[in-house]
């Protein structure tokens, strides 16, 4: 069945349907990840976005059970260059086609990804539609689309739930949690409890945790003033780790400013430099916003990581409070394991914060 990808500026690409045969509209983002299809599709940071995979083809193996980042992924669609016949298999319950159908995600394959990616790089990020027809009505729908403003609210958990273990108690504020963050905390024996994005400082302090994590998530952090307020109130009282959207939340709560990037960082081919050591690391990036460098002087943070490609601020640390943040995704899902040490640093931060309290 023919499907059309229609961009905001009218450019139309024709391809073949995969996944659920519905139509949808969303912001187009380009993912450079060559691996980790499961991780990427189920990442809640892609909430309400259409993901374009620039990989030349999808491999023949089905979706695996180990790499889910959320049970109910909420992206608006997936675009591929080429998908092998085995991934359309009706018998194989784990084929990509069946996976997308079960999770109500529409998709298009056989699209000229190179041309599409080039178009976005030249003209900047734009909205797009996955449509059955390429008529004027379809274009009207894109024009009518208002990018939703409450994405964190949609993807954040409604009820607190635990991820039990035996070590430090960590309050994880779910702004669009990736399960890999919990996996990494579990590996380090952290007894975490996941809380909704609007948990208040009192709620959190009542639990008496050893530390707080603000997770990655979709959208603009200015849309979640509740979380910013919580962060302001907690700072200095507990060690804080901010990842992705959480990094922006912590920075905004401390007086920094943010801006919308021309076409964001999506994928694991972006390198960061750890400023203290000049070590170069690759990690998975997924953000459309970044911190305004000039606004850093209004805060009490110093920069720990920068992106080598465009010098974007990728990591911060507070000069006196136990607060650290990274813009990239250290949990490596998908991506290299270069940045997993961020979690170790966080655990060390908790340990030395506790020692400082006991002295």
């Amino acid at each position: 069945m023919n499907k059309y990808l229609i961009l905001e500026d009218g450019t139309t690409f024709q391809g073949d349907a995969i996944g659920v045969p519905s139509i949808s509209t969303g912001e187009l983002v380009i993912s450079n990840n060559l691996s980790g299809l499961e991780n990427t599709i189920t990442d809640q940071t892609y909430n309400d976005q259409i993901i374009v995979f620039v990989r030349p083809f999808v491999d023949t193996g089905g979706m695996n059970r180990d790499d889910y980042e959320a049970i109910a992924p909420s992206c608006k669609g997936v675009i591929f260059n080429s998908v092998p016949a085995s991934q359309f298999s009706v018998q194989d319950p784990h084929s990509l086609n069946n996976f997308l159908k079960k999770r109500h995600i529409p998709g298009i394959t056989n699209i000229n990804i190179q041309r599409l990616a080039q178009h976005i790089k030249t003209h900047g990020a734009m909205k797009a539609s996955i449509m059955d027809t390429a008529d004027e009505h379809a274009r009207d729908q894109i024009r009518a689309l208002v990018i939703p403003r409450d994405r964190v609210k949609t993807v954040s958990t409604k009820q607190p739930y635990p991820n039990p273990n035996v070590g430090f108690k960590i309050a994880v504020i779910d702004l669009g949690l990736k399960y890999s963050i919990l996996r990494q905390l579990s590996i380090r024996k952290c007894d975490s409890i996941v809380l909704p994005y609007n948990a208040t400082a009192t709620d959190i302090l009542d639990l008496d945790p050893d530390a707080v994590v603000f997770t990655s998530g979709p959208g603009n952090p200015q849309e979640i003033p509740e979380t910013l307020k919580t962060c302001q109130q907690l700072e200095g009282q507990l060690p804080i780790l901010g990842i992705g959207l959480g990094h922006l939340v912590v920075a905004l709560a401390n007086g920094a400013e943010i801006y919308h990037m021309a076409y964001g960082h999506h994928g694991s081919n972006l390198s960061t430099v750890e400023i203290a050591t000049e070590n170069i690391e690759f990690s998975n990036h997924n953000h459309n916003y970044a911190i305004e460098p000039q606004s850093m002087s209004q805060t009490n943070f110093f920069i720990t990581h920068r992106c080598l490609a465009d010098n974007v601020i990728e990591g911060l640390r507070h000069r006196s409070d136990p607060t650290m943040t990274v813009q990239f995704q250290p949990e490596a899902a998908p991506g290299t394991h270069d940045a997993l040490y961020i979690f170790d640093e966080f655990i060390e931060m908790i340990t030395s914060f506790k020692q400082g309290k006991n002295l």
């Binding site: 750890e274 400023i275 203290a276 050591t277 000049e278 070590n279 110093f302 920069i303 720990t304 640390r317 507070h318 000069r319 006196s320 409070d321 136990p322 040490y341 170790d344 640093e345 060390e348 030395s352």
Partner: protein, 178 residues
Amino acid sequence: MNKEIVDDKTMKRTLTRITYEIIEKNKGNQNLVLIGIKTRGAFLAERIKMRLQQLEDIDVPQFALDVTNWRDDQQTVQAGGEQPPFSADQIAGKHVVLVDDVLYTGRTIRAALDAIMSVGRPSKISLAVLVDRGHRELPIRADYVGKNIPTSHREAIKVSMAEIDDEDKIEIIEPAAE
């Protein structure tokens, strides 16, 4: 038998963490002076200085101190030990961070403290060590510890640094069973 317990990556991490902690506990970093105890402590101090420079763009004065003349097992002052390389003005009123590789009995640190005090009067002295192996014989503790490694008296800790040993690592050396 040598057992490697810290590799080069972890050692770099640890030094970076110590640097972060030094920034955290010294808001502003204006008054810092790094004094590394020769030989490996001096290299560690150099690396911390470099990290501070990268992160905060501050140039912290850094010196290498030879404590031979102040050791308590030195009955008479022998030729060979160097005089402290800093003057009274350079440390007066400053926050001195003393850096060494291994903290063991505490006697080296005592000697370094005497060496510093014999020259001038810093406002504060704190201690950063890469390894704390326990067995203190003096009432001394470190403010910044890279790694606590519990050891027995029979074992030795060997810190290798790329500057003189070609590679970064920390090993426990256990004497062969008798």
